[in-house]
């Protein structure tokens, strides 16, 4: 399907996955792909320190919105902007909006915030999501990409709306939670994109998370992004020593042995990854968007463009999503 159509399907994409699967990288790549398709995109980060800035060749950013990648140019892409939204910022902002005076604000040092947040668990999460909902409603961008907390926490993060609708039965928090829940469960407003690696434990956790999110919260799940898939490299099946002999190439035995070991490693890992991808497809009836392993652990703007290419291709290969 056409990327522009894919990203226009819902206003908010929540990107979730276990720590270490490259959730922030995927958030950045999704944002860039959407912007290339002409959608202005805002990346919202919860925890800070994600390194999303450096993927765009920019410094780290904070609460103030920044432009990570200006639009325009021959391809006619749109802006990618970004900001951090911490739960404490959201809580203070919310309390201030609800009539905290200067006197009482003095009480709101870190510990007092903890008391409020402990009194009503999930309040921090709901305020972050409430703020995202507010940004969505205000139409600050065509697409908001939310880099969610790591997997175990992602469930409680999204579950907070359901929980608070029940516990805070009246008052502004209840309204807030109900509004957030409405957004989360409306596929035309919000979808969750889960990220994993093609490895056993991350795949297991992703499958569990997917079912919990659908059953308990009722969010709509977009395609699964599988990060770090070895790109195919044909021609590694033979024995390099035999290949060298047949081609009449004089290559040192040590170098041939290194070539053979590296080829074995790649073949073996490619096979293991394939097994995990199959298992994921069997356990979870969601389309997969593979992202290539880039043979670098130091990702920058060039890598981001390569990932956006791959996402664009993967999305292009998806069938049109039938309506909900």
């Amino acid at each position: 399907m056409d990327p522009a159509q894919f990203f226009a399907a819902s206003r908010v994409l929540i990107v979730a996955g276990k720590g270490g699967v490259g959730k922030s990288t995927v958030s950045a790549a999704l944002a860039r792909t959407a912007a290339r398709a002409g959608l202005s995109t805002l990346v919202v980060e919860i925890e800070g320190k994600s390194g999303i800035g450096s993927l765009f060749g920019r410094p780290a950013f904070g609460y103030e919105e920044v432009v990570l990648h200006p639009g325009g140019g021959p391809e006619g892409s749109a802006d990618v902007r970004a900001r951090v939204l911490t739960p404490d910022d959201a809580l203070v902002e919310y309390l201030e909006d609800h009539g905290l005076h200067r006197v009482t604000r003095r009480l709101m040092s870190g510990g007092a915030l903890d008391v409020v947040a402990t009194a009503a668990p999930g309040i921090r999460d709901i305020l972050v999501l409430g703020k995202v909902k507010q940004l969505e409603r205000a139409g600050v961008a065509d697409l908001i990409v939310l880099d969610a907390p790591a997997a175990g926490h992602a469930i409680s993060f999204l579950r907070s709306a359901r929980g608070l609708v029940d516990t805070a039965r009246v008052g502004p928090i209840n309204t807030q939670a109900a509004d957030v829940l409405e957004m989360l469960t409306d596929p035309e407003r919000c979808q969750v994109v889960l990220v994993t690696l093609p490895e056993e434990t991350p795949v297991n956790e992703l499958v569990d998370t997917a079912f919990s999110l659908e059953d308990e919260i009722g969010v709509s799940l977009g395609p699964v992004v599988v990060n770090g898939v070895y790109p195919p490299l044909p021609g590694l099946d033979a024995d390099p020593a035999a290949v060298a002999t047949a081609a009449g190439l004089a290559v040192a035995p040590g170098e041939l042995a290194a070539m053979a070991a590296a080829a074995d490693f790649r073949r073996e890992r490619t096979r293991l990854q394939g097994d995990q991808l199959d298992r994921l497809a069997k356990s979870l009836p969601l389309p997969q968007l593979p992202l290539p392993y880039l043979f670098s652990t130091d990702l920058g703007p060039d890598h981001l463009e390569a990932l956006a290419d791959a996402l664009g291709e993967g999305i292009g290969a998806l069938d049109a999503i039938p309506g909900p």
């Binding site: 276990k18 720590g19 270490g20 699967v21 922030s24 320190k49 994600s50 390194g51 609800h98 006197v103 009482t104 003095r106 009480l107 510990g111 007092a112 903890d114 008391v115 409020v116 947040a117 402990t118 009194a119 009503a120 668990p121 309040i123 516990t167 805070a168 009246v170 008052g171 502004p172 928090i173 490895e199 056993e200 434990t201 297991n204 956790e205 490299l233 044909p234 021609g235 590694l236 390099p240 290949v243 060298a244 081609a247 190439l249 290559v251 170098e255 290194a258 070539m259 053979a260 070991a261 590296a262 080829a263 490693f265 790649r266 073996e268 890992r269 043979f295 670098s296 652990t297 990702l299």
Partner: protein, 376 residues
């Protein structure tokens, strides 16, 4: 025996000597770097070395938990049977029951304990107060250490994004319990001066408006019931902090060779240093093998020279991995310098995930010469 990269553990066995010389080992690092597995491997190796070891884990992957007999078992160490002269015990931390026990210990009488345990605000603390899980991990560690049932307790820390949480957890919780707000909340029964009370009332009204009066009522009930227990909690927290600084406690930093993770590990090493604590060892998991042993420039030039020949894909593949190995080493350089003279031990990418004791053995072979010998 499953195949895999050949094991080359450091010959002078720094990790083995570390296990022998300490009674507490704390594994720390960001989420997803194999911290839980590493903690289990260290405890198992200690058992091989004849020690009575217990590993306390926070959130093990299900199959590893099953393999260690941890399924459905919380807060009680379970004996793991195996071919070692020592003992291996494993325990999954349950934040809530650890906290409950702590309340019971410090309460003046069973009534006070019951009043707290039944309070809804208290029940929220274990689930939502930041730092509670970290604090309880340290509390459990302290408890197991002082019981003297074990020669060595290895603890896996929660995958907190913010390393500060872990070191400051004990202080954070006592600060919370000690907070001015606490006094303000219980002040209606204590007759504080009217000015303070007014501010408190304004605050409470605002909070009530936001979260509901019922919720505020629970909080006041909790702090009233907790009255008198702060001192006990504070003392205990001080004892835990002291244990962390004890020379028989070792911090092991676990990382993967990725830029973002190394950055967090470096930040953590700095925080430990600020607290006067040393990193005793750095374990780097999931290291890509360096197949060529040549410089990246050399391997790339060879790939260019062989382009267009039938060996081209092999040379290109070798160059790909040489590039990965070079960037990984580049990332680690600053960190290894930062934790020096702590030994740095690398564990290569394994063929499959670890979910049984055999898998732990395979990792141990990369960390300890004895283990490499056992696995042949």
């Amino acid at each position: 025996m499953t195949s895999g990269p050949a094991a080359h553990p450091p010959a002078d066995d720094p990790l083995g000597r570390m296990l022998d010389a300490h009674s507490v080992v704390i594994c720390t690092g960001s989420g997803g770097v194999g911290k839980t597995t590493t903690a289990a491997v260290l405890a198992m190796e200690a058992a091989h070395r004849g020690r009575r070891a217990c590993v306390v884990t926070i959130d093990p992957a299900r199959r590893l938990a099953d393999a260690m007999g941890l399924a459905g078992l919380t807060d009680t160490p379970a004996l793991v049977e195996g071919p070692w002269p020592g003992e291996l015990w494993a325990m999954m931390l349950d934040t809530k029951s650890t906290f409950d026990a702590l309340v019971a210990t410090h309460a003046a009488d069973p009534e006070q304990a019951a009043a707290i345990l039944e309070n809804r605000f208290y029940r929220n603390i274990s689930g939502s107060l930041s730092g509670t899980q970290e604090y309880m991990a340290m509390e459990k560690l302290y408890e197991l250490h002082t019981e003297e049932r074990f020669d060595l307790v290895v603890v896996d820390t929660p995958p907190t994004r913010n390393a500060l949480d872990f070191l400051e957890a004990p202080r954070r919780l006592t600060r919370f319990l000690d907070h001015r707000l606490y006094r303000l909340l219980v002040s209606p029964t204590r007759g504080l001066v009217r000015a303070v009370n007014l501010a408190a009332q304004t605050f409470l009204r605002t909070v009530s408006r936001v979260v509901g009066t019922e919720v505020v009522h629970d909080a006041i009930g909790f702090f009233a019931a907790f009255d008198g227990m702060e001192a006990g909690f504070r003392e205990r927290a001080a004892a835990v902090v002291e244990l962390l600084a004890d020379p028989t406690t070792a911090f092991v930093l676990v990382t993967a060779p990725r830029a973002d993770v190394v950055e967090e590990a470096t930040f953590f090493a700095d925080k430990l240093a600020d607290a006067g604590l040393e990193v005793r060892a750095l374990i780097v998991n999931r290291v890509h093998p360096d197949f060529s042993g040549q410089t990246l420039g050399h391997v790339v030039r060879r790939a260019e020279a062989l382009a267009g020949t039938p060996l081209a894909p092999f040379a290109a593949n070798l160059a790909d991995f040489a590039a990965v190995a070079a960037t990984e080493e580049g990332h680690l350089e600053g960190l290894t310098g930062r934790v020096a003279p702590a030994p740095v031990v690398r564990v290569p990418f394994l063929d499959s995930d670890v979910h049984d004791l055999g898998g732990l053995d395979r990792i141990a072979a990369h960390l300890f010469p004895d283990a490499a010998e056992r696995s042949g």
